[in-house]
Amino acid sequence: MRPFGYTRADTSESAARQAASGGTFIAGGTNLLDLMKLEVMAPEALIDINRLDLGAIEETDDGGLRIGALVSNSDLANDARIRKDWPVLSRALLAGASGQLRNKATTGGNLLQRTRCLYFYDRAMPCNKREPGAGCSAKDGFNRILAVLGTSEHCIAAHPSDMAVAMRALGAEVETLKENGSTRRLTLDNLYLLPGDRPDQETVLEPGELITAVVLPAPVDGKQTYRKVRDRASYAFALVSVAGIAKLENGRIARANLAFGGLAPKPWRNAEVEALLTGEAPSEDLFNKAADLLLAEAQGYGANDFKIPLARRTLVSVLNELTQEAQQ
């Protein structure tokens, strides 16, 4: 690890100010320290935000929840309210990482974790995300785990989070605090950037801008599930994952929220796919049309070509599960 300054922040405001002048926030540290040991990341200073008052899960006036940025993945997954009314989020969290990591990893940090692209981690190989302009080794390399949607010629990295996929399906929003003391709310769609020609820029967050909370809207009516397909049964990143919420009324789909992991540089959601399903009677044919639409622009890079049919099958299977069980 390269040497760095270390400060324990007392308030969110002072943390934001310190980070704006060259510091990097550290909370759980499970991804950041991993990358610092490899010198993929080498911050000048760490601002330890673990003492900030951001560890509560509070009910909002409109029936939702405000999840403090420092709530651990374990505490969030095990919260009785989440388990009862937002089970897709609990399931997504429990499908991710290991017991040890979930105890340290935080809500804010999980959103901002970096891709597990092998070439991002390997400093001997060119990577546009690590070093803009260096080139992408993954396009013609070992890209089994990488993205097929939303990529660019400069980067095909996939976002690794399970939690963020469920949050995207639930319509969660992020609350932030900027260096100048102002706050804003961002949908997850607006938080993340696609790689384009600047894959090193992953979010719209400004220097010093601190995620303080994630706000869940009121519970969504319908059956919820999180399906994760991976290379081993536990403690592995998703090849494809689907967070799904669906409700049937009079034999027709009244609502379908669908978000996807493992496929794209950010948790993926396609409003056209949901619109295609809404109002229709569930059928294998309909579900395949939804998959056609979802994957119309999908592009494989060789070793990850299999993700396109895998995403189709996973989506169809999830829709079958959600609509069959909802009929019972």
Binding site: D34, G99, Q100, L101, K104, Y235
Partner: protein, 168 residues
């Protein structure tokens, strides 16, 4: 960076380079070599310790981030002649071969049994609101952050089941 923390019931005052991980502080500065360094990247679980009662990877956290915390390592769980139920069960069930992953396995399992008795569900628990049973499938899922390259998994699972039976 000055850091005051309690390790296995003893207050410690450390003033180390901020780069020092909790694992390196335990092993190199406090002589507590029970916690092992396997991958040093949070993938193998050999460094598992408990902080404020919860299991974490000691390699993926800086000791300076633990001012005021209470750390329990394998040395704090039991000693020769005074083994914890899990330590005893690992010996009786032959829950290891080379033994390198064992301190991490036992620290992890100690905290895992508390998690399950506190009603935490896992990825393989059918009912998020129900109480999980300590099946082999549940143990394997909950212990997936601890690798054993000798592949002593069947006996590790059996040791955990036996130890839990003695506790309940």
């Amino acid at each position: 960076m000055e850091t005051n923390l309690t390790i296995n019931g003893t207050e410690q005052r450390l003033d180390l380079d901020p780069r020092t991980t909790l694992l390196d502080a335990l092993r190199h500065h406090l002589g507590l070599t029970g916690s092992k360094k396997g991958c040093d990247h949070g993938q193998c679980g050999a460094c598992t310790v408990m902080v404020n009662g919860r299991r974490i990877n000691a390699c993926l956290t800086l000791v300076c981030m633990h001012d005021g915390d209470e750390v329990t390592t394998i040395e704090g769980l039991g000693q020769p002649g005074n083994l914890s139920p899990l330590q005893e069960a690992f010996v009786n069930e032959d829950g290891f071969q080379c033994g390198y992953c064992t301190p991490g396995q036992i620290c992890s399992a100690t905290a895992m049994l508390k998690e399950i008795s506190d009603g935490w569900p896992s990825h393989v628990t059918d009912d998020l609101d129900g109480k999980a049973k300590l099946t082999a499938e549940e143990i394997s899922e909950r212990m997936s952050g601890n690798l054993c390259r000798c592949s002593a998994y069947p006996n590790i699972v059996e040791a955990i089941r036996k130890a839990a039976g003695e506790n309940t």
